[in-house]
Symmetry: C2
Subunit: 438 residues, 2 copies
């Protein structure tokens, strides 16, 4: 019965089938009626194909169909250098599999959708069929596959941890609360605690899953639910071990995009960045000093980098190192969460990093504390009661190795890769302050 | 810097290193002090190794450590047929990497943890380190990998859809509600609507992610958050196309477990089931008739199978077909959700199926409606307002092919595979009526 799926030919395989009569299936992308001949463009999951229609009766029948009607087409593949893809279909027999009830809210056959982003998002079930928009999510799928395969090859095990949690993960006003059988529960803002605990089990773990942030940001780079690509690794030397794992992981993600999403790259005319080995790194204080020297901006009391600072550093990395990627190490401890391991040589600064990709923060990571007493001290010094973290701290009471990890925001990664100006463009069905549907 | 991770040798690679001095890292699993010699068992992510300790001073030093302290051990690999795995480590030099503060709540070195399930779950951060419990999750990870690779090979694309949704997915009193910036939102009880919509984009899609059920069940086979392995495929002939995809997918999952979780299978002394091609199938009415004939149970007004019915069918499939798997097709439409496609030959019954695995429902699937008007009719006949489903129905207004899909519960799959009596045993951190932590 699987033969029912494999009997049809994909549009991107047609050039291997010249001279054969094949079965295509897909959507009525467009009908172009010219004086002597008409062209039917059919779209399937892989691309489009041009079908030459000469029978006036068939042209009339097709003209009565709305675009996006679902068709089966049997026809002969003919080489035609003028046609898109170098082939076209002749002598078509057309079956209407499922008729569309209405015209699409915008033309899907134009190079880009002629509508504003909110309209595109409101109509996502149709808009996502546009070849360019679809290409973003083929890249997204390939990126996840590359994330997993890269880490699998380094001996990591996949985990799935709960998204409903009993207490706000990172001492947070930024979590969504829900009623859980009469108790208050929260949506996990990260799998941080669980992935650390699982280092005690598998040493090297990763998770791909949703995270939830109740921050009322209304910017082009924030959404309230996103996909986090998380990894955590035990028996590290220091944060450089984590940075090396991350570098390999990013390289594996790009290799997977090149391999699995070649069609999407062609649609977008996209060239992928190279990952330098190693990725250049700069200390937070040195980064600030460079920016101050270049721009005159006084950063002496700034414990973090602004988006403008990140952009400056992105340009600097490209200019000085030819790199789209830049590690910034050693952010002040005051701005990092309580589980952050301090740099042993400069205890006011973290043994951690951000990875900037083309001038935007893409990844945060670093070494974590691993001794129970260090956790108790860190929590108490922040005015927190360690009792509230008892289940998490149990792992550290019972022996944990030096470890660290990182988290990559999937939608932001794809947005930077395809140069989308808003992370909502690379999210299938984004959730933000004003958007809960579709 | 990745060399820091690769320099150490895993315990399950020791038999290839006889005669070499190697570096091991891991946890103090057990110290056995005998009269003339002591044995230190070290556990890493892959297994355990026996270290022979003869130096009385080192024995004393180790005896002062709590089990689960983290150690580095350099020593010589010696073949020893008496030792577990056929090798042991001699002349050890031991480094204490991180000392455990307390003894574990139960002995992790015993063949099974001597504690009741609630105690085991309360202490999950430590209990999951037990080799048998850890093995369940190695099987879980391999199953996910096999699910994805099987579907990838059939041309499926991975998607990630939102878990916060604006309306209860399947007309449900069984969803968790949350406050979303002043509006009421819900946790998705399945990605059903989104995966169908995405058939319009990629034709064949899958998702691995959490689903949330607010049902107040308190049984050994229900939890309130679980991992759903979802697939949906377009251009099917009927439900048999979906059953064929599912059969291939299950076979791919088992192949991945065999390949990636061989160590776990050895720990559990587990033999994997075979997947017949095709898996036998029986119509719901015929299944009921067989049960009635064999047991005398009157099922004439039963629109569903009870757990006892499922067990009977599981035994029947094993006896008659030598199969651990059995499809039951054609459940009454009244018990299936509104998007279910009726069997064209028997419209009161669904073009859908359950897959029983060893007498328990593991998968539900089938063909869905694909015409807009059919959805409107189905909703209206159930007393629902199609307006409430506008975003979902948009996909069907704009041309959708015949399609269908299925959903596998990951934790239940692993529980049946390893013969665990409670699905909580194969869930890292289960969520149920009474459990929100750890």
């Amino acid at each position: 019965m699987i033969s029912h799926l494999t009997a049809r030919v994909w549009t991107d395989d047609l050039s291997d089938r010249v001279g054969e009569r094949v079965q295509l299936k897909g959507w009525l992308h467009r009908l172009r009626r010219l004086a002597g001949v008409s062209f039917l463009i059919i779209r399937d999951a892989r691309g489009t194909a041009q079908v030459v229609v000469q029978d006036p009766e068939l042209v009339e029948r097709l003209a009565r169909l709305q675009n996006e009607s679902v068709l089966g087409i049997a026809g002969v593949v003919v080489a035609e250098p003028q046609a898109p893809g170098g082939v076209e279909i002749h002598d078509p027999a057309v079956t209407v599999i499922s008729e569309a009830d209405e015209a699409p809210p915008f033309d899907l056959y134009r190079p880009v959708i002629k509508a504003q982003l909110p309209t595109i998002l409101d109509n996502a079930p149709v808009a996502l069929r546009h070849p360019r928009r679809r290409a973003y999510f083929a890249i997204s799928a390939a990126s996840m596959a590359g994330f997993r395969s890269g880490l699998h090859d380094l001996g990591f095990t996949e985990i799935q941890t709960p998204k409903i949690v009993g207490s706000a993960t990172e001492s947070g006003a930024t979590t969504f609360a829900l009623d859980y059988f009469g108790k208050t529960a929260y949506l996990a803002q990260s799998p941080q605690f669980y992935k650390q605990v699982m280092v005690g089990v598998f040493e090297r773990v990763y998770e791909v899953g949703p995270v939830f942030r109740a921050e009322p940001h209304d910017t082009a780079r924030h959404i309230n639910e996103y996909v986090s690509l998380d990894a955590e690794v035990g028996f590290i030397e220091n944060e450089y071990t984590v940075m090396a794992v991350l570098t390999d992981t990013i390289a594996s993600m790009l290799a997977a995009v090149e391999r699995d999403a070649a069609g999407a790259l062609a649609v977008l005319r996209l060239e992928l960045p190279k990952v330098p080995q190693p990725i250049p790194d700069v200390h937070f204080l040195d980064a600030q000093a460079m920016i101050t020297a270049a721009t005159g901006e006084d950063l002496s009391n700034e414990p973090d980098l602004s988006p403008a600072n990140e952009r400056w550093l992105g340009e600097w990395a490209k200019r000085e190192h030819g790199s789209d990627f830049l590690f910034v190490r050693g952010f002040p401890m005051s701005k990092r969460p309580f589980y952050t391991h301090p740099d042993p040589e400069r205890p006011g600064f973290a043994a951690g990093f951000d990875l900037l990709f083309r001038g935007m923060e893409l990844v945060t990571g670093g070494q974590r504390l691993h001794r129970y007493q260090d956790y108790v001290d860190a929590l108490v010094s922040r005015g927190e009661d360690p009792e509230n973290y008892a289940a998490y701290l149990m792992a550290f009471k019972h022996g944990m190795p030096p470890h660290g990890g990182f988290a990559i925001g999937l939608e932001r990664w794809v947005a930077q890769l395809v140069d989308a100006s808003n992370v909502r463009e690379t999210t299938l069905f984004p959730r933000d302050l004003n958007r809960l549907s579709p």
